[in-house]
Amino acid sequence: MSAERSIARRMLANRAFLALCLAATTAAMLILAVLLVSIFAQGWDGLSWSFMKSLPSRKAEKAGIWVALIGSLWVCAICALVALPLGVATALYLEEFARKSRLTRLIQTNIMNLAGVPSIVYGILGLTAFARMFGLFGTNRDEALTFGDPESLFFVRLPFGSSVLSGGLTLMLVILPIVIIATQEALRAVPSSLRSGALALGATPWQTAWGITLPAAVPGIMTGSILAMSRAIGESAPLLVLGGALFVSGAPDNLMSDFAILPLQIYNWASRPQESFHAIAASAIIVQLVALLLFNGIAVFIRQKLQKPLQ
């Protein structure tokens, strides 16, 4: 009798918990839906070709996102070009070459910590290390060392100032630990029989890592890197510290140009009191979300098409 009652009670608990689970998951999905619907409702009407192509303006009706869009592309390209090789190299060293010593464990913990550092702190680091270069070249912009013609593509200025280069490098700092951790996981998933086989055939450790292990890990590395890049295109706090929210009149034409980026343009418009600016902020968010979906879509595609079973 009591056993039966206990079973009935536990079945009831099970069903109640399932209902709770469904409610929680539905709530989470509903939030995503409300978020998307509210943004599309506010911003859909403002989307037009001229909105994409227009320069920033003091009037909401005339303002566009062209400068910010191109700025975002520049910054993300620089970020990817530096972060990916650096991150993959670090992960290769830690996974394939470093001895499992206390020092290696310490470096590993350090990378975990870097992944947890708030992005705005990286902004301060970027401001000090890249934009001002620790004051090594003086603190005034006029004192900067310049190389080449300011109009040309190859113009370089030391320190970098609030330029696209500083911005890209600062974002690189933010996503570097993510790239390292993702690459390490991808390398760890490569079965060790592949390495043993290569080594047994007389390949050196580097030939094994470069020719066998790394190619086998490429789908994992690419998925992780694309997700890291989708973090980078949305990251705005560190570049705000760097001075990226200021009014910029044109798209960058070399590494030392001032820049605006899309998320900061959104912040700038959203923080104004006028409704008309909120509307164009919503339109800009739609563009930003489409870019994000594109990145995620590519990552999912790669994961599903390229990942071959290795065991």
Partner: protein, 319 residues
């Protein structure tokens, strides 16, 4: 060996490039290994530079005569920009940060964990395959978008519920938006931890007559507890360091309060205010942002370290 040497063809083959390339190959490998080592050293240098920069500028801040260490940790007032008398007590900013993080955590941790249990223990593969990518998208949404959502959707909703209580900036709205931001982190990391629990544990519990609820809550969750706690800590440290949402929706009044309807300023929001404003680069207000950044860095550092420790010390090994 001798037969090899006497055979002219094979002898030739054995010598082909071997002595020369072995040496140059070793040098090449050394060089490559060294460059990989340099890349690894870079990540250590980043940490070192963060610490040195923050420490140096914070010391510079405390060298101003209007600032004392006692006031920084003892005073409940923070008003470096307004008023004739400036006060530099860190607690209002810490309190604002913790209030936002607490609201976010009390919303996202239970919801995220329950959704994770559902996905890992109850949901069919097809349901999982649709919800997981949706969560990944939610995880990738830029934080400024959540800030905009707080400002244009959550705050108006709160104001409709109680127009007297909620102003256009309040902690609850920013906290809820931050909660939505960390929800996917909590959910997907907890789910990873739950799925890592070996199947044999579940089979054993089912064999003893447990319902699915008994198995997931009394066996699987305790077995994955270290991973779940680590996920919680990571999510909280993200909420503590969140910048754009609070800069948009929480307001700008630094005060010690536990009232979710109040305007608060977090550490990150103060830094935004300073770096966006025209505070001269050498004044005490400007330098104060570095002291705030150092405090923030220490807080998230401690959270991450505890998370690492929990993962390492309390992991249940079943294999």
């Amino acid at each position: 060996m001798t037969t090899l040497r006497t055979n002219p063809q094979l002898g030739n083959l054995a010598q082909l490039g071997r002595p020369r390339s072995a040496g140059s190959r070793r040098i090449r490998e050394r060089a490559i290994l060294f460059s990989l080592w340099l890349a690894t050293a870079f990540s250590v240098a980043v940490t070192a530079t963060i610490i040195v920069v923050l420490a140096k500028e914070t010391i510079g801040f405390f060298e101003f005569e209007e600032v004392t260490l006692g006031e920084f940790f003892g005073s409940l007032e923070w008003n470096p920009l307004l008023g004739a008398e400036k006060h530099f007590g860190i607690w209002p900013l810490v309190s604002g940060t913790l209030l936002i993080a607490a609201i976010a955590a009390s919303f996202a941790l239970p919801l995220g964990l329950i959704a994770a249990i559902y996905l890992s223990e109850y949901a069919s593969p097809r349901v999982r395959a649709t919800i997981k990518p949706a969560l990944e998208i939610l995880a990738g949404v830029p934080t400024v978008v959540y800030g905009f959502f707080a400002l244009t959707a959550i705050t108006p909703l709160l104001q409709r519920i109680d127009p007297e209580l909620f102003g256009s900036y309040n902690a609850l709205s920013a906290g809820l938006a931050t909660g939505i931001m960390i929800l996917p982190i909590v959910c997907s990391l907890s789910e990873d931890a739950l799925r890592a629990v070996p199947r044999s544990l579940r089979d054993g519990a089912f064999a003893l007559g447990g319902t699915r609820f008994d198995v997931s809550v009394k066996v699987v969750v305790p077995a994955a507890l270290s991973g779940i706690v680590a996920a919680f800590l990571l999510a909280i440290s993200r909420a503590v360091g969140e910048t754009m949402i609070v800069a948009l929706a929480a307001g700008g009044v630094a005060q010690v309060t536990a009232n979710p309807a109040a305007e608060v300023q977090t550490m990150t929001a103060y830094m935004v205010q300073i770096f966006l404003g025209d505070a001269p680069a050498f004044g005490v207000e400007y330098k104060s942002s570095y002291a705030v950044a150092a405090t923030l860095f220490v807080m998230t550092f401690v959270l991450t370290m505890i998370g690492q420790l929990v993962l390492r010390r309390f992991r249940e090994e079943y294999d």
